[in-house]
């Protein structure tokens, strides 16, 4: 079979492009350290979150020099705690679970977003840099008040952070 030179050229270009797509995503995972949110988080009893050692009193907790854990409960139609306050230039791990139906947890305008399933804990770690305010929305339809379900993430300067809900 004879293949025209031009046809060989654009077959080669399409293969290069596919390899390039895979290479950039591999770079993101290996070089830039991008992670996918998976099912490695714990499971909880959604009907007994009040008895849970962490979700019983959801909030921000310092776990290292610049590391913070935030336990968040999504329920119809609020996020607890609200607002979430963390200091700038820190590593923040969110543990999000639902007390009733499936919700979403999206820090608006960023790459941090997860599905929140009753009984499952979605675990996501992000680096926060500059002081800023981010909205949090539920992006999984959760009932009649879904459109009002929002929260706030405040990243405050380190010297203004006083270690808790503000």
């Amino acid at each position: 079979m004879h293949i025209h030179d031009y046809e060989k050229l654009w077959l080669a270009l399409s293969l290069i492009m596919i390899v390039g797509f895979i290479a950039t995503v591999t770079y993101g995972a290996v070089g830039a350290g991008i992670e996918m949110i998976d099912d490695s988080g714990d499971t909880v009893d959604p009907n007994a979150l009040g008895d849970h050692p962490e979700f019983g009193d959801p909030g921000v907790e310092q776990v290292g020099p610049n590391e913070y854990d935030v336990h968040v409960i999504a329920r119809q139609f609020v996020f607890q705690p609200d607002p979430i306050v963390v200091p700038a230039n820190s590593t923040v791990t969110f543990y999000v679970t639902s007390a009733d139906v499936t919700h979403g947890f999206e820090i608006v305008g960023t790459n941090a977003n997860a599905m929140v399933i009753p009984g499952e804990v979605a675990e996501l770690t992000v680096e926060v840099n500059e002081p800023n305010e981010y909205g949090i929305i539920c992006h999984e339809y959760c009932g009649s008040g879904h459109h009002d379900m929002e929260g706030l993430l405040r990243v405050v300067p380190e010297d203004e952070y006083d270690g808790g809900d503000q």
Binding site: H4, D5, L13, G20, T24, E35, G109, T110, N111, N129
Partner: protein, 77 residues
């Protein structure tokens, strides 16, 4: 005479036929030129495909490295 009676006959017969419509496609039956496989070089198509390739590559790089990796709060764990 090189013309001969046959060519005169052709001319008269074409005159006697009704004029073709102006919207009729031009008769190209006699314009036949055989191209070998390598002589057919669709340069315009090649240029178009190269342009699409460049657009796709630039848009992918922009989307991944600027819009995605450059965005705040990248999930790292």
């Amino acid at each position: 005479m090189s013309g001969g009676p046959s060519s005169i006959e052709e001319r008269t017969s074409s005159v006697s036929q009704p004029e073709p419509s102006v919207s009729a496609p031009p008769d190209q039956t006699e314009q036949v030129r055989a191209l070998t496989h390598e002589e057919f070089d669709p340069k315009g198509t090649l240029a178009l495909i190269l342009l699409y390739f460049v657009i796709l590559a630039v848009m992918w790089a922009f989307m991944y490295f600027v819009e995605f990796l450059g965005n705040d709060l990248v999930v790292v764990g």
